[in-house]
């Protein structure tokens, strides 16, 4: 008996149960147990929305990059800043790696949730599934449209990848735009036509049918112009897109804010109409509520970049002076156009409309005398950016939304779509709404008669595309659209607009790039030879 006891004891000491080695995390979920309920699906969808906010360093932001490479801005910033290279389309090791990564991260999250929707138990709520699917497909289309416009040649990924699929080659542009078209078609067909007034406030920022139509128009115009195609890769014809835009204009309930100044916080802090106003068809949301946590990427991290370098000048908050605004843009506005001062800060008092701000920083690169007013960080007093007063970090937590699709943009796209084979009177009407608002007809600053007698109006014809392009430049300045409007008009138009050399301010477009940015070197190196560098960047 004693022997057995000792044996048992020894065996006991030397044995172990398999559970001992099964460890699961306490602070995260495990994929096998998730994506089961509609609320799981919602969390997956939110993660895809979160992809819109990711901004690894503030420099690698779509708006900022797009404006610097356009004729609107110089790189600016400090002498050591990475954006220097963008003015001359210069190579800088891996300069676009963060933004490349950001977009594919968003695409991954959208693909992932799309792949999981089938497995969710929706119960009776099949409409919810279609809605989530439409939202995720819209987001995927949004990510691809930005990527394809920036880089031209991008791999097309529509499912979560397995390791053997990491080395996907670049897809033909037609395939990418076809996917964009189909994704948007699904969204347009499946989302309800809820007018602006009926959209619950709590859902502002969510994708709507109107947003899908707006993005579709953007995709259509870029693709058909840049690639000289008759339709959106066989998915949408011009007439179909035009009808959808008309439908939006007639039925969405969106309208222009009367005074263009009130659209932008720092242009009119007291009378600012706020975010999600009646002109905001779709916006990317930001908040100060990460409270300095740089991993959250909830803030508009890029905003600090364009602020006045190293100083506060009420109501303009402190920043890094990146993307100094070109004098050309300032002078492109006619006298009387309220958009000039609503969009741009002129520091020099000698300039008409100049605000007499002395920039004290000695290391402001490419000082032009002009800074962004749209999106400028806001400082109600001389002490802090408002972000700081709200508890955030002035570098990370600026919070102004980026209204990616604005009703004014819709109107101008509508006008453009009607120029060619559409209804010219509609084009004129859409165009006039935007332009009259700019000169103050809508808010009563001037009357229609004054507008006409001063010759502010422009009459459109079928060949007025360049007029609309110029109007887009003025209306949508510093909102990230200009560069793509330029390159879709062709390389010579882009070069003519962008090339600049005056008073030491130099900007040079490289036509051999075909307007596309450099594919990140690290990604090419990692691609097993499947990624090919864009021309002009080798």
């Amino acid at each position: 008996m004693k022997k057995y006891f000792i044996l048992l004891l020894i065996v006991g000491l030397f044995s172990c149960s398999e559970d001992f080695l099964d460890r699961t995390p306490t602070d995260s979920k495990v994929a096998e147990d998730f994506y089961k309920t509609p609320s799981d699906a919602y969390e997956g969808l939110v993660a895809a929305y979160d992809g819109l906010q990711i901004d690894y360093d503030g420099f690698s932001n779509f708006i900022l990059i797009s404006e610097i490479v356009s004729d609107n801005c110089f790189a600016g910033g400090g002498t050591g800043d990475a954006v220097n290279f963008l003015d001359a389309f210069g190579k800088k090791y891996d300069q676009f790696a963060p933004i490349w990564k950001k977009y594919y991260q968003g695409i991954y999250r959208a693909n992932l949730i799309l792949s999981k929707l089938e497995g969710v138990d929706w119960g009776t709520d099949s409409a919810l599934k279609a809605q989530y699917q439409a939202e995720a497909r819209f987001l995927r289309a949004y990510f691809y449209l930005d990527l394809a416009r920036m880089f031209g040649h991008v791999p097309l990924i529509t499912t979560p990848l397995t390791p053997d699929q990491y080395y996907a080659p670049q897809a033909a542009a037609e395939d990418v735009y076809k996917q964009i078209g189909e994704d948007l078609k699904f969204a347009v067909d499946n989302l309800p036509s809820t007018p602006y007034a009926s959209i619950p406030k709590a859902t502002y920022g969510r994708v709507t049918r109107w947003a899908a139509i707006g993005l579709l128009a953007r995709a259509y115009l870029f693709y058909t112009d840049y690639y000289q195609k008759p339709d959106l890769a066989g998915v949408y014809t011009r007439a179909q897109v035009r009808d959808l835009v008309d439908n939006l204009i007639q039925n969405s309930g969106y309208a222009l804010v009367e005074n263009v100044n009130n659209l932008w916080l720092t242009a009119a802090p007291a009378t600012y109409v706020g975010e999600d106003n009646k002109e905001t068809v779709w916006t990317i949301k930001y908040t100060y509520k990460a409270f300095g946590d740089g991993n959250k990427y909830d803030g508009a991290r890029w905003q600090v970049m364009i602020g006045l370098r190293n100083q506060i000048s009420v109501p303009y908050g402190q920043g890094w002076g990146v993307g100094t605004v070109s004098p050309q843009l300032w002078s492109a506005y006619r006298d009387g156009d309220k958009r000039k001062k609503a969009s741009i800060i002129a520091t020099t008092p000698t300039v008409d409309g100049g605000e007499g701000i002395t920039i004290t920083a000695t290391d402001q690169r490419q000082y032009t005398g002009y800074y962004w007013k749209k999106f400028a960080p806001y400082a109600p007093t001389k002490d802090n950016n408002e972000t700081v007063d709200l508890g955030g970090d002035y570098q990370l937590d600026n919070y102004q939304d980026y209204p990616s699709i604005r009703y004014a943009d819709i109107l101008l796209m509508g006008a453009e779509l009607h120029l060619d084979g559409g209804d010219l009177s509609k084009a004129q009407s859409y165009f006039d709404q935007v332009r009259k608002r700019a000169f103050g007809v809508l808010d009563g600053t001037i009357t229609d008669a004054v507008y006409n007698t001063n010759g502010y109006g422009i009459t459109l014809s079928a060949s007025s595309k360049s007029v609309i392009m110029e109007e887009r430049r003025l209306e949508l300045a510093l909102e990230g659209h200009r560069y793509y409007d330029l390159i879709r008009q062709g390389m010579s138009v882009a070069a003519q607009a962008i090339n600049y050399s005056n008073n030491g301010l130099v900007s040079t477009f490289n036509t051999t790039t075909q307007g596309f940015l450099e594919i990140p070197e690290t990604q090419i190196n990692l691609s097993q030879g499947t990624l090919i560098q864009n021309p002009g960047w080798e």
Binding site: D27, K29, A31, D50, Y104, Q105, Y204, Y286, G391
Partner: protein, 1044 residues
């Protein structure tokens, strides 16, 4: 044998026997005696037995014994832990016996995994450092005691800050992740040994080859360091007291430009950059210099240590207890002493026989309390020293009129480093730690069953405080804050072993060991931050004083994240201590891998041949001992973040705020791409060695090894289009091979004993595989300053973490040279101006591009060595310990070339400023020259960092030799100096730079587990990047070491 012969033999024997008996009987009488230990202390409980009989006695409390013995008898005097001694009785009536320490248990054994082994029969490559050497070097940290004493063990400080970890590499960097060895303190695995006081350490054994470490299979891949704390000895009692006090200083300062030199250089840089000069000659004359380094380096920073130990015991129980206090101020703590380390320890070790000789019970426990505060030492942004090395010397510390910290007269963006230092680096960590084990051991007829439970339990609290300040428009803190963190970490292990020892036919010595070990790691932490404090000082910086409701941040977790379970077995066999053989097998299961790859088996074999036991060598008296040995084995490594194989989902950092921006929607997506096939990393090593003692006094030991680490656990970069953080993979192979030589000479010339010991190790490190197509894992960018390319990488065919950049070929002296440097009529550097750097166009494409980059330096030393010298004469002792490293380079990165007003070292005075003035240092500019003299990482940054350091010099005298009547066994008074000289060509503050940026690869957030995975969160693949390094101090100290 014939019958007659048989009878004759028998007859003779009987007569002899009778004679003997008669003699014994006739002369039996009482013999008395006293037994003392080597220090002269009487030993109670010592066995005294007449040889060949069972007649015996035991000494009393005064060490005395009485026994009836005859003149021809031989007494065998024995006691555990001492060499048994035979004493012929002869005519003596009062016998004095002094027992010598048994070298089999003290000097000549080697601690191996789960036991000790006679050094003579060890077949693996191990090296030991014993208490004397530990004590004499008075090392600030335990690990530093190993520096220079153990060939093949490369130890580099990651910072001279008190209590900072050391970087320990055994036989080279074996992996990109955690390359630290496994530490076991009395068998308890732990990751940090800074809680130990060297006075409590009996010995440190380092297991270097795979066969020695194989019994620890899991986690033994980077070598094993076994630390044994002091144990009591039966029959003795000992009180020890050690104390020292020392002062520390920086051993060198960087020679920075003074105000006048600075002004000249700034003027010249401005002119070269097309800006008007800043200073007129008249202004230059009036400038006053601030020596900023005086503001950070503390003069005569104190360091002190007191330890008191008691040990002793009887045959049945032994104990050793000690308490100690150690405190050290850092030399870079500034005027407010923000860098310090205070440690109190209490050790209780004891062992008891609880059932005759069959069952023993014991425990080793060390409690420590550490209080420390540190200044930031990493990188370019959070680095307390760096601002002091680059601040302009024309800025005063304080404003003369206001008395506040002065603003820079040079640029509004320049920060006053003293002010910045004062407002930052305000923190304190308190750690209570209990490390120890309890064990029960049963012995019966050669079988030993042992069950040992160990734990490493620590409680940490941390606070830091940020006051409000505004130094420049962007260096400011507008609202005060406090961070408070509490954590509890428990790592336990339960080891059960069964051992069987036997000797067959007096020649076959066999030991068989089987066992299991289970280990688990769990931790809990809570971390919170609050802003808007109602007090403005550190003492009141607690969460309760935070007033801002909107900015409270709280994180916390509680989990058991890691466990392993292993079976192992070992056979040691030797034939007559001549032919030696050992085999080990271990099967490890780790929770870090999926059930498909959870278990792995790690075998090893080793063999030795003691040639000196062979008759053909016994004829050569000059060869006292000669052994050849060889081993092969595999070890595993599972040190990665937990759950890496699983598809875990995160909700942190995936929020989106819909609506008016107030309502948070929580998002969830995978944190990292899973890799269900993740498996153990394996290191496989061959070792061939030789140990010899010749001419009685010379010791030689040589080892050759080839260590291959296969299937590195690494986050190998994958294309970003995969869309989530890269998975952990078994991503590459690395090879370290080398030679280690140890030589010693120890001899006594009468009263003079001399010891000279030296060792040298050569190691060659090469990456042999990386599991992505380019075969490269890139280093970080922006390491030296913003907007700088990667400067190091791991690449197939190169040493891990090598420096990667452009080669230079001097300075362009004039326009002609620029024009002449052309290819096919096109200038290679069209943007260059005279005075700019000429880069080598390695690929010959007529332009300087990334393709021209190559290996321009290696942070891994190819030789490490140490040389130690001991002299003792009567009561005096004198020793010198040195160590050095050679063949490695550092990147000199303390000047930020993107900050035009940063100060330079006086080296810049030798810059190019006209034809023929320099061919090595380019012209100064404001950093905007198109040539990119310093913006491109090149060999201009790389400097030889080989060094030889006099680690310590000690001189002591033992007063018991002068005054034998003193009641002390030892009363040694000594003076010593640490880091007295460092011989190096390196120009930075300290050539021994262990810092490397933590290349985060695709891993997003680091260290969210309460500090547990520091080393594995990123690739710690390089070393030697000097961006302003906290240097090791030079210390002078005096102390006393008393034994009673």
């Amino acid at each position: 044998m014939r019958m007659r012969d048989v009878y004759r033999t028998l007859h003779v024997s009987v007569i002899l026997l009778l004679l003997a008996c008669t003699a014994v009987y006739a002369q039996q009488r009482a013999v008395t005696g006293t037994v003392k230990d080597p220090s002269g202390t009487p030993m109670p409980g010592v066995n005294v037995v007449i040889k060949g009989t069972t007649t015996g006695t035991v000494t009393d409390v005064n060490g005395n014994f009485t026994i009836n013995a005859g003149e021809n008898d031989v007494l065998v005097v024995s006691f555990i832990g001492y060499k048994p001694q035979d004493v012929a009785v002869g005519t003596q009536t009062n016998i004095g016996v002094e027992l010598a320490d048994d070298l089999t248990t003290l000097g000549e054994v080697v601690v191996v995994g789960y036991g000790v082994q006679d050094k003579k029969v060890v077949t693996g490559a191990t090296v030991a450092v014993k208490t004397d050497d530990l004590m004499k070097t008075n090392s600030l940290q335990l690990g530093q005691a190993l520096q220079g004493q153990t060939p093949g063990v490369q130890i580099t400080s990651t910072s001279g800050q008190p209590g900072e970890p050391l970087k320990v590499r055994i036989r080279g960097t074996g992996t990109l992740g955690d390359s630290e060895p496994l530490y076991l303190v009395d068998g308890v695995p732990t990751t940090d040994i800074s809680y130990l006081n060297s006075a409590n350490i009996e010995r440190i054994d380092v297991l270097k080859d795979a066969a020695s470490a194989a019994i620890y299979g899991a986690r033994g891949a980077n070598g094993v360091v076994l630390i044994t704390t002091k144990k009591g000895k039966a029959g003795s009692s000992l009180i020890t007291f050690d104390a020292y006090y020392g002062v520390q200083n920086a051993y060198r300062k960087l020679p920075m430009l003074n105000a006048q030199e600075y002004a000249v250089i700034m003027n010249e840089a401005s002119i070269n950059s097309g800006v008007s000069p800043l200073y007129s000659p008249e202004q230059i004359g009036k400038l006053k210099t601030t020596d900023w380094q005086d503001q950070i380096f503390t003069k005569n920073a104190p360091m002190q240590n007191y330890s008191l130990g008691f040990s002793g015991g009887s045959e049945n129980s032994t104990f050793s207890s000690a308490m100690s206090y150690f405190s050290q101020d850092g030399i870079a703590g500034g005027p407010s002493k923000k860098s310090y380390f205070d440690r109190m320890t209490l050790t209780i070790n004891s062992q008891h026989k609880v059932f005759k000789d069959y069952v023993k019970f014991g425990e080793n426990l060390t409690y420590s309390n550490v209080k420390k505060s540190g200044v930031a030492v990493n990188g370019i942004y959070s680095n307390a020293l760096r601002p002091f090395l680059i601040a302009s010397p024309v800025m005063p510390v304080y404003d003369e009129t206001t008395g506040d910290y002065a603003k820079s007269p040079v640029a509004i963006t320049e920060v006053n480093p003293a002010a910045y230092f004062n407002y930052n680096n305000i923190n304190k960590t308190v750690t209570d730690k209990l490390v120890g084990d309890i064990y029960l051991e049963g012995q019966y007829k050669g079988f030993t069953l042992r069950s040992d439970f160990g734990s490493d339990l620590s409680f940490n609290e941390y606070r830091d405080f940020g006051p409000e300040y505004e130094l420049t428009p962007n260096v400011r803190n507008t609202v005060s804050y406090v961070n408070q963190n509490m954590s509890r970490v428990l790592r336990w292990n339960w080891d059960n072993t069964l051992r069987y020892n036997t000797t067959l036919n007096e020649k076959h010595n066999i030991e068989v060991l089987v066992g299991t070990t289970a280990q688990q790691l769990g931790n809990t932490f809570v971390n919170a931050r609050k802003e808007g404090l109602t007090f403005n000082d550190f003492d009141h910086a607690v969460l309760n004083n935070g007033t801002s409701d909107s900015t409270i941040t709280v994180t916390g977790n509680s989990s058991i994240s890691y466990s392993i379970y292993s079976y192992f077995g070992r056979v040691n066999y030797n034939f007559n201590e001549k032919y030696l053989f050992s085999a080990t097998i271990r099967r490890d299961g780790s929770s870090n891998f999926g059930s498909n790859n959870r278990y792995a088996t790690f075998p090893s074999v080793s063999a030795g041949w003691v040639l000196s036991e062979e008759s053909f060598l016994q004829a050569i008296p000059q060869i006292n001992f000669l052994k050849m040995r060889a081993s092969w084995g595999q070890n595993g490594n599972d040190r990665i973040v937990p759950y890496a194989y699983m598809a875990t989902l995160g909700s942190q950092y995936r929020d989106y705020y819909f609506g008016s921006g107030e309502d948070k929607a929580v998002g969830t997506s995978p944190t990292r791409l899973p890799n269900p096939d993740l498996k153990w990393e394996t290191s496989e090593q061959i070792d061939i060695g030789l140990d010899a003692t010749v001419f009685n006094d010379f010791i030689v030991s040589v080892d050759f090894y080839n260590k291959k680490t296969k299937d590195w656990l690494v986050v190998a970069p994958i294309p970003d289009l995969a869309g989530a953080d890269a998975p952990w993979v078994n991503g590459g192979d690395i090879r370290n091979r080398g030679v280690e030589i140890q030589l010693g000479y120890n001899h006594k010339f009468g009263d003079l004993s001399v010891g000279v010991n030296g060792n040298v190790a050569f190691n060659q490190n090469e990456v042999t595989r990386i599991a992505n197509t380019e075969g490269i894992i890139h280093g970080d960018v922006n390491v030296l300053f913003n907007n700088m390319d990667e400067l190091n990488r791991a690449q197939v065919g190169f040493p891990v973490g090598y420096f990667y950049g452009l080669q230079t070929a001097g300075i362009f002296q004039n326009q002609e040279e620029i024009a002449a440097y052309s290819k096919n009529g096109k200038e290679i550097q069209p943007d260059a101006q005279p005075g700019d750097v000429k880069f080598v166009d390695r690929d010959g494409d007529g332009a300087i591009t990334a393709a021209d980059k190559t290996k321009i330096g290696n942070p891994n030393p190819n030789v490490t060595y140490g040389f130690n010298f001991n002299l003792a004469y009567k009561g005096f002792d004198f020793s010198v310990y040195t160590y050095g490293m050679g063949g490695q380079q550092n990147v000199v990165g303390y000047h930020p070339y993107d900050t035009w007003y940063a100060n330079y070292t006086t080296d810049v005075l030798g810059r190019w400023h006209g034809e023929g003035t320099s061919n090595s240092i380019p012209r100064v500019t404001r950093g905007d020259e198109k040539n990119g003299n310093y913006k491109k990482f090149s060999d201009l940054y790389v400097q030889d960092a080989s060094f030889l350091r006099i680690k310590s010099i000690n001189l002591g005298y033992d007063f018991t030799k002068l005054l034998p009547s003193l009641p002390f066994k030892q009363f040694r008074v000594y003076v010593s100096a640490n880091n007295l000289f460092t011989f190096t060509k390196y120009k930075g503050l300290d050539p021994e730079v262990g810092f490397s940026p933590q290349t985060t690869g695709s891993l997003g957030t680091q260290n969210t587990q309460g500090g547990l995975y520091n080393a594995v969160a990123g690739y710690n693949m390089t070393s030697g990047i000097d961006v302003g390094f906290y240097p090791q101090p030079r210390t002078f100290m005096a102390g006393v070491s008393i034994k009673l």
